[in-house]
Structures are given as C-alpha cells and as structure tokens.
C-alpha cells in the first residue's frame, strides 16, 4: 500500500506542469481576483459610494411620549401604572436622534452626505439632480416605533425612503437603513425581555457583510477558499487521469501481473489524494495569507480549525477520486472519462460557489450547492472565519463525512472485478 501512495505522490511531484497548475495558479488567481474585485465588494477598502441623502424629519418628538402613553392604554389596554412605567423606560431611547447619529457616524459618513431639509425643498433638489434620495421620518415615527417595540408588533408608521432612480448605491443605503431599523427593534426587544430598567440601543456598524458580532468575511478570504477548493477538484480529476495513463501505458497490467490486489491500487489512489489535496489547500491558504494578510491576528485555535477542515475536505476529495478512478478503469477511455470529470467539476464548481459567490445564485441552486463537498467546505469555512464556533461546523462536517462514505461505496461498486481490465 505504501508503495502505491509513494508512487502517486512522487509522480505528482515530478509533474512540474501539474504542480504549478494546482499550487501557483490558485494563489495567482486569489491575488488577481482580490485586486480586481476589491472596489466592488470589499468594504475595507475605499468605497466608491458617495450618496447625497436628504433627511426630512416630520416627527413631533416632543409629543412622542404622550402619544405612546395613550397608545399603550387605549390600544394595548395597559393599566395607567404599567403604561407610565414603560414610558419612563422609553424616555432613554430616542429613535430619531439615534438615526441621525447612525447616519453621521464615521463609517456611514464616508458613504453618505446627509442634508436635513423640508420635504418640498428635498423634492426640488431631487428633481434638479442634486440629491440621490430622500429619507422621510414621518409624523408619529418615534411613538409608533417605541409602541411597536414594546408590544412586539410591526410598526404601522415606517421610515420612507424615496429614490430618484434605483442604483447600486441607493439600494446599498436602503440596506443600511433597513439594517438600522432591524437592529433598533432587535436591541430594544432583547432588553425588554431581559427586564432592563433603562434601554440602551447599540447602533449597528455600517457595511454590507456584518453579521452579528462575528469577524468580517472578506472577498480575499472567499477567493482563497474557493480557488483552493476548485483546484483541489482539478487535482482529483488529474489523479484519475493518471490512472488512465497507467492503463494506456500497460503499467496497470504490469501491476495486475504482480498478483497485487487491485484494491491496493484503488486505496492507494484515495490516500495519495488525501495527502495531495491537504497539502494543496494548506499551501494556498498559507501563501495567500503571507501575501495578502487575509487572516490577521487569528488565534491558534482558528488555525487548528482550518487544518481540521482541510483534512475533512481532503477526505471528501478522496471519495470523489475513488469514483473517478473507478469510472476511468471501467470506461477504459481517457478522453471520454476526462469529459465526464470536467462536467462534474464545472457543476460542483458553479453550484458550490467556486466560480461566482454563492449569494449570486438563485435560492434553490444555493440549497443544492450546499450539498456539494466544495459547497459544504465553503459553508464551514465561512462560519469558522466569522464565529470560530465548533457547533456551527457539526452539520456540514457530518454531511462531508456522509459524502466520503457514499462516494467511496460508489467507487467500490463501480470498480471493475478482479482480472477484468478490458
């Protein structure tokens, strides 16, 4: 068995063209894609968004607490004492100033210039093309937001967002505003449930990819993972193609003549694929990190997790190598088999998010993609980079292990019976 593994690894090492393809090319692509898409996706870099936003405040904030008190007693049927207690709590939260603070904080200020205007004035400026959008804070917004948060209903009075025309920038701002509202309600609800006497709202940070309190998942990290996985798929196809060459060159027959069990050859292919894919994945991550510093200041636990995921993914790739090897042995036609392998890789690559970010695919395709080994690997990696929580890895890990078992069984079932090579 050791001889088969050693031979496969040595053969791969000696094939300099293949070695450059699977080691250097992914790193080069990570480097190129990182710069090519930095302006478009990476919010860490200077943003190209410069949005002129008019904010029209129609809310009568001074009357808000009185309005809230009435609504609590009339609509929520609370006793006066209970209503007063809630209003006292509500004194500490003022959604409108919070919204202005949010829009004028450092991160958002880089993207948006806020103009406080009357509605008519704002509409004129929109028409003249001086402004991109209007955000209207309607009358009753404060009272309605607070009431909705206390009773757990959807507010009937909402911020109104009007655009001159739909652009990437304006929809991005819309996302930011929506994010703010969600965060406002969420924080408020949490603290109400927890029974806090005073409500403090934590403002959300600006940006597109902030999720919870986790680390940011950047495009360079995305490209590192996906390029590594994509070229690992190519490596699996190469390993199987080398089997085809072994058949064509009669080396496989010579192996059979030594009375070695063909299963040793098969398992040798799987184990060598595990070793090669693991080394390739780790190489791409380490070199990309050295060049682009994609994982700055991460803990040892983080790196151990990365290595563990690479091992798991390598096993999944060995399962795929088992199927590919069995197919090529059965078909005995390198070109036709290669065609099948490329189709499978393209399919896995597309729906597993290796060619385009998985978020750009339709929902149903995303769901299918998360069942591919590379899709599962991407999910695991994304979660681990952001949260470093073992619990989030459990499900994709189990699915990957399932993939290894199923694909190995499929490979064994397809593997030609002993003594039949043609």
């Amino acid at each position: 068995m050791r001889s088969f593994i050693k031979k496969d690894i040595l053969m791969f090492w000696r094939d300099r063209k293949e070695l450059i393809t699977v080691l250097v090319l992914p790193v080069l692509l990570v480097f190129i894609l990182n710069f090519a898409f930095a302006g478009l996706f990476n919010h860490d870099k200077k943003s190209t968004i410069d949005l002129q936003l008019a904010v029209v405040n129609q809310d009568k904030e001074a009357e808000a607490l009185e309005q809230l008190n009435k609504k609590l007693m009339n609509e929520a049927s609370l006793e006066e004492q209970e209503a007063t207690a809630l209003v006292e709590q509500a004194q500490h939260i003022q959604p409108v100033p919070l919204l202005f603070d949010f829009l004028e904080n450092k991160d958002i200020k880089n993207l948006v210039t806020v103009h406080r205007l009357k509605e008519a004035e704002a509409v004129d400026k929109i028409k003249e093309g001086d402004l991109d959008a209007i955000l209207i804070i309607p009358d009753g917004f404060t009272a309605e937001s607070l009431y909705a948060a206390f009773v757990g209903k959807t507010p009937t009075v909402k911020l109104q967002y009007k655009l001159e025309q739909q652009t990437n920038n304006s929809s991005a701002l819309n996302n930011i505003i929506q994010g703010f509202m969600y965060q406002l309600n969420y924080q408020f609800a949490i603290q109400t449930i927890a029974g806090a006497k005073e409500v403090e709202v934590t403002l959300p940070e600006g940006g597109f990819e902030e999720i919870g309190t986790g680390e940011t998942f950047t495009m360079s990290q995305y490209f590192t993972i996906t390029m590594g996985a994509l070229f690992a798929l190519f490596m699996v196809a190469t390993a199987a193609t080398k089997t085809g060459i072994e058949i064509r060159q009669q080396v496989f027959n010579r192996i059979l003549l030594t009375n070695s069990h063909p299963m040793q050859f098969f398992i040798g292919k799987m184990v060598s694929t595990i070793c090669l894919v693991f080394l390739q994945i780790i190489f791409v991550i380490i070199v990309s990190n050295l060049i682009l510093n994609i994982f700055p200041d991460r803990s040892m636990t983080f790196w151990i997790g990365i290595a563990a995921m690479a091992v798991l993914f390598s096993f999944a790739m060995s399962g795929l190598a088992a199927v590919f090897t069995a197919i090529i042995l059965r078909m005995n036609n390198i070109d036709a088999s290669n065609g099948i392998f490329m189709l499978v890789i393209l399919l896995f690559g597309i729906i597993g998010g290796n060619f385009v970010p998985i978020q750009m695919l339709p929902d149903w395709l995303q769901q299918i993609g998360e069942w591919t080994p590379n899709g599962l690997y991407l999910v695991m990696f994304t979660d681990w980079i952001q949260f470093e929580e073992l619990s989030s890895l459990a499900k994709p890990s189990m699915l990957l292990i399932g993939f290894v078992i199923l694909s190995t069984m499929a490979g064994l079932a397809l593997f030609p019976k002993r003594g039949i090579t043609k």
């Binding site: 088969f4 053969m11 009669q250 027959n253 070695s260 039949i420």
Partner: protein
C-alpha cells in the same frame, strides 16, 4: 510445463485468436512469429492471465491458470510491447515500485534491483528518469522490471521494436543469457524472423489468429525441402543457352536478367557439372555461382503468400 489448449478469443464477435495450441517445455526458448495483427499479443495476454479466453484452457503443470491466475503470475515475467513504466520516475524508482508490489523488501528487493539493472546493463543510469532515456534503454528497463522476481517463464512481446541495432543486440544477448545460463523458459514473439531464428529452439508461426505451422527450425525449413535454388552470373547470355538449360532434366524454372540467371530445380538434381559443361560448350564463362538455402522467411512466404512485414 505450460500449455494452451484450443485457445480462442473473440472481440465483439470478431475472432482475434482461433483454436491455438501451444506448448512450452521447461527451459525451452520458443518463438511465436507472425505479422502485425496476427493475434500474438492477444495470445500472450491470455497466457499471462490478463484477459480471459472465450474458449480453451491454459494449464501450468496441470493446473488451470484461467481459474487460478495467481499460479502463473507467481512464476511469470512479462515484457509487454508497450513500455509499461512510469516515465516520471527513475529506472531505480520504477524497479523499486514493481519489486515492492511483488512483496519484496529490504535486502532482497535491493539485490533484485541491482541484479536486474546489471543484466540489462543500466546500473550506471539507474538514477536517471525513464523519460530521459533512449528508446533502447527504455526497453531494457522494461525487461528489467519483468526480471525482478526471478521468473521461471519470461514472455517477451516484440521487445526490440523501434530501437537501434546496438540496443537490439544487447536485448537479444540478455534473452539468450537468461535462457542458457539461468534456465529461464522463454516465449519470444517478434515479426523479425532473424531474431527468433537466433534465439529459439522451436517456433510457432501465426497468421490471422491461427497457428499455421509449428516445429523446430529444421522441421519448418523442410516444408521447402523439395527444391534447390541456384544463382549464376555469366560473362555473356543468349537465348540459345537459356533454352538448353531449360532442357536439362530436373529443372523446374529458369529466370534470366541481364547477365544473371536464377534456376529452380528438383532437390538433389546435381546440376552443377552439367551447367559447367554446357557453359563451356557455349564459350560462356561462369563468373559467380551460388546455391541458395531457403530461410524461415521463405517458409512464411510459402505458407501465407506474404512476408512478415507486410
């Protein structure tokens, strides 16, 4: 020792090998000759247990090797027509790999590799990658890989195709040495008649999937033993002389071209004195006189109507 009995193989309904009977005695060197596509490689693949025959039996010392392929694989070395080697590995690495999957290890493996390299004369190039070798050297490594486990039977399928004369001689010498000194039983296929003539005690001639003749070299040559062929080169040649030669008893055919004549006569006709006498009468000087012995190539031509390389 090894016998193939009524061996046949069909590929998609097409008969590649038909009713082949072949026997290899211990220590023998047997040749299997035939043109390309005659069915030699298919026969060898069946004997070496790589493909199953459609019908027939293969027995090694009475044991059926079709049902028990392990029996023959243990004692068989096969040198395939193609280079069954890893081009990206060195000669040593190739031999180490094949030796280790023959379950050899340690000193035994090392000694086997050294011996095999020595036999094929590649000890000094063992560390070089196979892909850097010449065609002849690659063929020698191909042979070395089949010798690692010291096989009792060695099957060589056209081992000298496409190589230089020096490497060819080296391979032929190696095969002869293995047979004569090591006692290895040889089955040698080729479409170079002179190689099998040099190396083999017995021959099987194969064409269109069938054995069309078998026997020792003398036995095969006796197929053409009813005629003698003479070639004459003369000082001058005229129609009268040709006619008088044709009239000699026992002459079957006379061909004349410029100052040369080819005469085919019944074996044992003893024509030499008559021809000399006739030439003297006509004042013609015989400059050169040759008696041609038939070759195995002539036997093949006689049996199949075509040459081996057609």
């Amino acid at each position: 020792m090894l016998e193939a009995i009524h061996l046949s193989k069909n590929f998609k309904g097409k008969k590649a090998v038909q009713d082949v009977n072949l026997y290899l005695g211990h220590g023998e060197s047997v040749g299997l000759i035939g043109p390309n596509g005659a069915g030699k490689s298919t026969t060898i693949s069946m004997i070496s247990s790589l493909i199953k025959p459609t019908s027939g039996e293969i027995k090694l010392n009475g044991v059926n090797t079709i049902t028990k392929p392990g029996e023959i694989r243990k004692i068989l070395g096969v040198v395939p027509q193609e280079l069954a080697l890893y081009q990206e590995l060195s000669a040593y690495e190739n031999l180490h790999f094949f030796g280790s999957i023959y379950k050899m290890q340690g000193k035994e493996l090392k000694d086997s590799i050294e011996q095999a390299l020595e036999i094929v004369g590649l000890t000094d190039r063992q560390k070089d990658l196979v892909k850097t070798f010449s065609g002849g050297m690659k063929r020698r490594v191909n042979i070395a890989a089949a010798l690692l486990h010291r096989p009792e039977i060695l099957i060589l399928d056209e081992p000298t195709v496409g190589i230089d004369p020096q490497s060819r001689n080296h391979i032929l010498e190696t095969v002869r040495m293995l047979n004569e000194k090591e006692g290895t039983t040889i089955l040698y296929t080729s479409h170079y008649m002179e190689e099998v003539e040099q190396l083999c005690d017995r021959l099987y001639i194969m064409d269109h999937g069938e054995i069309i003749a078998a026997g020792t070299k003398a036995e095969l040559l006796s197929i053409l033993s009813t005629e003698d062929t003479f070639k004459l080169e003369l000082s001058k040649l005229d129609g009268n002389f040709i006619e008088r030669v044709r009239a000699i008893e026992g002459i079957r055919k006379v061909e004349a071209f410029q100052l040369q004549m080819k005469i085919i006569a019944k074996k044992g006709s003893n024509l030499i004195s008559e021809l000399v006498h006739l030439a003297d009468q006509q004042h013609i000087q015989i400059i050169n006189f040759q008696t041609e012995t038939p070759s195995l190539e002539d036997v093949f031509l006689h049996l199949t109507g075509r040459t081996l390389r057609d």
